[in-house]
């Protein structure tokens, strides 16, 4: 780019004898110096260290010693890990499709609404701005038995029997997932709306002239053209559900991840291994497994969705 004739300073000294290209080089590395130091010390070094710690028996009290793949062997032999692994994927498999389906339907219709558009959009978007830790307490209160629990109160009004929600091993996970889906919808709707706006109106006009029905337009024009948006949201929200923690931790503080570990995701297991049991090496191995899961899921999703 930018090597132009530049009025050269006539005075002597190092800086004036330096060519423009060299000056640019010095500026560039000068700008990058502090950030590069940050990335090396706070990102790259800890990444390697996490891999290293995962093959040690580091605890808070004693120094790390190399133990090979012991932590991984122990993890894969631990029934709790497989329970947690399953839970983590249930969060993903329920959370991602449900939230994307709802947010697409809302965005699709909201895109055509002019009357009070901004206001309705705001209603859907507001939960995205909340603090997950705080909202977990609000939902925890909703799930209480009567007379204090709002949901059971409404159910009772319809003559439906009381539900245990957080105290049931089968209902607790969906009950924990609900606030996470709820809080994420606003973001997904906004992104879908942006994607829908980006589709040129002329495409729709041409399709209508050709006599395509609304359903056909949705299938043949809207959805295919929305694919980049969809890929982004699938990957982004999947990563979010695989890393769920704040809601789970706060919604049941007496027994985080309970009852009977039925809501425990991998990040909570990592937290408890590291900061309740202080088995740092073992926890590090779990973080490496989390990293691999995220990597594989993202790559598989990108591959699958790009091909189609």
């Amino acid at each position: 780019m930018s090597v132009v004739a530049h009025r050269e300073a006539t005075t002597g000294g190092f800086w004036s004898r330096t060519s423009l290209g060299q000056k640019q080089l010095i500026w560039a590395w000068g700008f990058l110096a502090v950030p590069l130091l940050f990335y090396v010390v706070i990102r790259f070094w800890p990444t390697f260290q996490a891999f290293y710690l995962s093959v040690t028996d580091w605890t808070i009290t004693k120094p790390a010693e190399f133990v090979g793949l012991e932590n991984y062997k122990r993890l894969f032999a631990d029934p709790l890990f497989w329970q947690v692994f399953r839970n983590t994927f249930v969060y993903l498999i329920l959370g991602t499709p449900i939230s994307l389906m709802i947010s697409f339907i809302v965005a699709y219709y909201l895109d055509r609404v002019r009357f009070m558009h901004t206001f309705i959009r705001a209603l859907y978007f507001l939960p995205f701005l909340t603090t997950a830790a705080a909202m977990a307490w609000v939902w925890r209160w909703f799930y209480q038995p009567v007379p204090i629990g709002v949901i059971n109160d409404v159910l009772a009004g319809f003559g439906i029997p009381q539900q245990p929600f957080l105290r049931s091993t089968t209902q607790a996970l969906p009950a924990v997932l609900a606030p996470a889906v709820w809080a994420g919808l606003g973001f997904q709707i906004i992104i879908f709306l942006a994607g829908l706006r980006a589709i040129p109106v002329t495409y729709y006009e041409a399709a209508r002239i050709d006599g395509l029905s609304e359903g056909a337009i949705l299938r043949k024009i809207t959805l295919p053209l929305l694919k980049p948006t969809l890929v982004f949201l699938v990957v982004f929200s999947s990563i979010g559900f695989l890393r769920i923690f704040d809601q789970v931790y706060n919604i049941n503080t007496n027994d985080p991840g309970g009852p009977l570990n039925s809501t425990k995701p991998l990040v909570l297991m990592i937290y408890q291994t590291a900061f309740s049991s202080y088995e740092m090496g073992y926890a590090a191995a779990q973080t490496v497994v989390l990293f691999l899961i995220l990597l594989v899921i993202s790559l598989v999703q990108l591959r699958l969705m790009r091909d189609r």
């Binding site: 940050f38 909340t130 990293f291």
Partner: protein, 272 residues
């Protein structure tokens, strides 16, 4: 086109009802925070006798004010740092040509693949060795720069014509001044998007602050609220007041800046 379209009206009504359901948890939270202990079991949304007693009681004990200030300090400093450094790096990678530029870019981008959870244990080790546990710096240091922000800013700086920068160069501005005075004002929408995301992310952050803080004076609002709620047990009106205090600032900011926030989310989502 005077054709009546009942479909449109039904769609609008359903959307509206859905929207109301979306904010219902927030309304219940606020309404319960305005009830005293005797009214909590009355589940009406509009409190029969609204009172600010819960707020007065909670704010007067000082802890929430402290946590609020902690969260503000942390979120604001981290946001300023990201706005400064992410855009400086993004600009350098977008507008300078030098050997190693591509490697630096790929290296920074590759950190996006590493989940925070994997870095938390080494950060904890680092923080305990350097005495950063239980300090503002300890809460802030992992987030002072982000690859996401750098990438976002690079995308936007690439859209600035080089002529603008050349003109400033000929006028004798140094490279720092060119970035700060010429390039930065041209990307304000991106800067506000980055600022909004960074602030919101740090204001609501729970996992790392929970790990790095041990004394109650240094809790951020989410961590403080969590410990407060545990201690209140079943005093839901107190817990809802705490939750409201943690949630209201971002909701109020949104009411004033809705246009910018929505645009920011769109920008960040599409370019990021």
């Amino acid at each position: 086109m005077p054709r009546v379209r009942p479909g449109r009206i039904i769609a609008w009504t359903l959307l509206f009802i859905g929207g109301v359901i979306m904010v219902t948890p927030l309304l219940f939270m606020l309404s319960t925070s305005l009830k005293d202990a005797s009214q909590v079991y009355d589940l009406r949304i509009i409190p029969a006798a609204p009172t600010f007693d819960n707020y007065i009681e909670i704010l007067s004990d000082g802890r929430f004010t402290r946590w609020f200030v902690n969260s503000m300090i942390v979120a604001i400093i981290v946001t300023l740092s990201n706005v400064f450094f992410d855009s400086l790096v993004g600009y350098t990678l977008a507008k300078f040509r030098f050997r190693g530029r591509y490697i630096v870019f790929v290296a920074i981008l590759s950190t996006l693949m590493i989940p925070t959870e994997m870095l938390v244990l080494p950060w904890y080790l680092m923080a305990s060795q350097f005495g950063w546990l239980d300090s503002y710096w300890g809460i802030m240091f992992p987030g002072m720069m982000t690859a996401f922000g750098t990438f976002l800013m690079k995308q936007f700086f690439e859209g600035i014509p080089n002529d603008f920068l050349e003109a400033a160069r000929i006028d004798g501005l140094n490279e720092f001044a060119i970035w700060w005075k010429i390039a930065m004002p041209l990307v304000t929408p991106a800067l506000s998007a980055l600022a909004i995301f960074t602030f919101l992310g740090n204001w609501t952050a729970f996992f790392w602050p929970l790990i790095v803080t041990t004394s109650a004076e240094l809790y951020t609002l989410p961590v403080g609220l969590s410990s407060f709620a545990v201690e209140q047990s079943i005093q839901w009106e107190k817990i809802m007041t705490g939750a409201s205090i943690a949630t209201l600032p971002t909701l109020i900011i949104f009411l004033f800046l809705q246009r910018y926030i929505v645009r920011g989310v769109m920008l960040a989502g599409l370019k990021g």
